[in-house]
């Protein structure tokens, strides 16, 4: 075990996979000499050369689209999109192309591309850099959508993503890059997709979250503990595939749930989680499942981002309501 920040865990995992498999390569904007705007690939071009760590022209659709082709040629590309918001420029290459190559070819081809992209607010970034748009991608059959919240999970899930034959959108929490630290296994370490993680035990209510909202949920749980409410925190980790059975199990135990995410409420992935909960555990529910999300507005300029992002107060009051409902 080594204590690492999120970004260190990601960098070392990429390096480990490059060392493991000569087919692995990385492409993206500014990932070479600069090492990426967040240094996820720092030092890697010097170590592995310009053919393995490739600075691409500024065109997201061709980063993803050429990664599809590289993958068809037998290589295993990791594509970095500088900020998730700019994955929208590549949307037509991700959704109707990358995600369905296996299906379209009825299994003749697979495109195991891993797309990495940071997102999430609270870091005073310019427009479009912070937007939590994961639910733009969760309705896409064939695409796995993975959002780690801790360095260890980042390693375990990124390893699985890179080794998977399937395309993965791997969304990294910008705010956690340097802030979130934790112990990371030194050896080969992979975590299967579709298994939620219980981040904190609790018996009165289950808080569902992913990415940076996990730390928010943990803070809220801490605060709730002081008023005698025992909140379980569940990190979904992979939104697609979703751990349907795990969700049923945890909700059945507490009977109450709150889903927390940074994206706006309407049609955020929280809606899928709520629907799944009520499909799987309706008769265990003692109160409606609450959603704590950003309001239905675009991510604002930095001066008021704190008004936009869900905070501990909002989580705590939602939980209080859910817990007191009968």
């Amino acid at each position: 075990m080594t204590t690492m920040t999120m970004i260190e865990a990601i960098r070392s995992t990429i390096r480990q996979e490059i060392l493991r498999d000569e087919k692995v390569m990385v492409l993206g904007q500014d990932i070479g000499k600069l090492g990426g705007v967040f240094r996820a690939t720092e030092g890697l071009q010097a170590e592995f050369g310009e053919d393995r760590i490739v600075d691409m022209p500024l065109a997201e659709a061709s980063i993803v689209g050429s990664a599809v082709g590289l993958s068809l040629s037998g290589l295993n590309p990791i594509a970095e999109i500088q900020f998730l918001g700019f994955a929208q420029q590549a949307y037509h290459q991700i959704v109707p192309q990358l995600a369905r190559f296996r299906f379209r070819s009825q299994g003749r081809y697979s495109t195991g591309v891993t797309i990495r992209a940071p997102f999430g607010g609270g870091v005073r970034a310019p427009e479009l850099h912070s937007d939590a748009i994961e639910s733009q991608f969760t309705s896409v059959p064939g695409l796995q959508v993975v959002l780690p919240s801790t360095p260890a999970d980042a390693k375990g899930l990124l390893t699985t993503a890179i080794r998977s034959e399937d395309p993965v959108l791997f969304c990294e929490p910008l705010k956690g890059y340097r802030l979130v630290k934790g112990d990371v296994p030194d050896d080969d370490y992979s975590i299967p997709f579709g298994e939620l993680r219980i981040a904190r035990e609790g018996t009165d209510v289950t808080l569902f979250a992913w990415s940076a909202a996990v730390q928010l949920a943990e803070k809220a749980a801490e605060s709730l503990a002081s008023e005698g409410i025992s909140a379980q925190v569940v990190d979904l980790r992979t939104l697609v595939p979703l751990d349907v059975d795990g969700i049923r199990e945890v909700v059945s135990a507490t009977g109450r749930a709150v889903v927390i995410h940074e994206a706006p409420l309407t049609s955020g992935y929280g809606a899928e989680v709520v629907s799944t909960i009520q499909e799987e555990a309706f008769y265990s529910l003692e109160a409606p499942v609450a959603r704590v999300a950003a309001p239905d507005v675009p991510y604002p300029n930095i001066g008021i981002e704190e008004v936009f992002i869900p905070n501990v107060d909002r989580v705590v009051s939602a939980v209080r309501e859910v817990v007191s409902a009968e």
């Binding site: 390569m25 053919d51 691409m56 022209p57 065109a59 659709a61 061709s62 993803v64 689209g65 050429s66 990664a67 599809v68 082709g69 590289l70 993958s71 068809l72 040629s73 037998g74 290589l75 590309p77 037509h92 290459q93 109707p96 192309q97 296996r102 299906f103 379209r104 070819s105 009825q106 299994g107 003749r108 081809y109 697979s110 059959p141 064939g142 796995q144 998977s164 034959e165 399937d166 579709g194 697609v240 595939p241 979703l242 349907v244 059975d245």
Partner: protein
Amino acid sequence: MLRREILRPDGSISGDSGPVLSIQETLDALERMLLSKRIDERAFSLQRQGRMGTYSAVRGQEASVVGSSLALDPSVDWIVPQYRELPALLRHGLSIEGFLSYWKGNSEAARIPDGVKVLPPQIGLAAQLPHAVGLAWGLQLQGDPGAVMTFIGDGGSSEGDFHESLNLAGVMKAPVVFLLQNNGWAISTPRSKQSAADTFASRGEGYGVPSILVDGNDLFAVSAAAREAVGRAKSGEGPTLIESQTYRLGAHNTADDPSKYVDSGEKLQWEELDPIPRVISYLRARDAITDAEIDDIEARNEAEVARAVDVLDTIGPASAETLFDHVSSTMSIRLRRQRDQILKGASR
């Protein structure tokens, strides 16, 4: 930009060009062109009878498609198609019934056979181009001797993917040939409304990609251009953009009604430039083909198409299972349950 022309509409050879293909190769190409035409006719009538879905004919573009494919070695080179390149795909190893199965609606039967270096048809226009670039670049990185030829239309060339792909191919010196078939139309949209550029070939310079403008109804000129381009790709000199100026002599597809928008005078002019008769005239002038031999070719093609259609007729819809089997390498719990429920309902 000078347009390269070798085989004149009357079947004579222009200026100082020698013939590009041997007589035998030319005969072989003619057979492929005639086969393509025959399949087009048959597919249209199958569609009219409800035995086929939407189908897009190659008619008019046979020299462009067959000629360019002749530069490829199916054992190492790849084709990344759009949807209007049937005879190139056949030469590369697809079967007629395999190709037609796709348009009939059975993707399982249309699965590209292992070893055939072809990607599935692409409906999202120009979306295939970055795949072609990545594939070519990847082959090069791995020391694979193959080159990639990808096809795109005059219409599709307006998509952003065209730009990003040519630019990337230029930067990476990827061994890829962009075969832009300018057939005058994107459904009902004429070339003149697609771009104010004089030629699409003129776009190459802006990417540092050499380009060639060629009479797309001229089997020899297209073949020569494609050979040059494939040669450049294989010698590490990078991509080429070829604009092949041809004409869609039929409807856009079986759902289209060109009488609404095609000027019959223009069409008539292009019928004069039909790529098939000029190959026949060329061969005739050299006494390399007789009417009887043409009949033989047609008969062979006819028999081959009949055989393929017989097989096709036995191909029903894919099994319901194929809806679930190839979404991902492993089936999620949720999908497995959806599958079980639907298959239970379907088999009731």
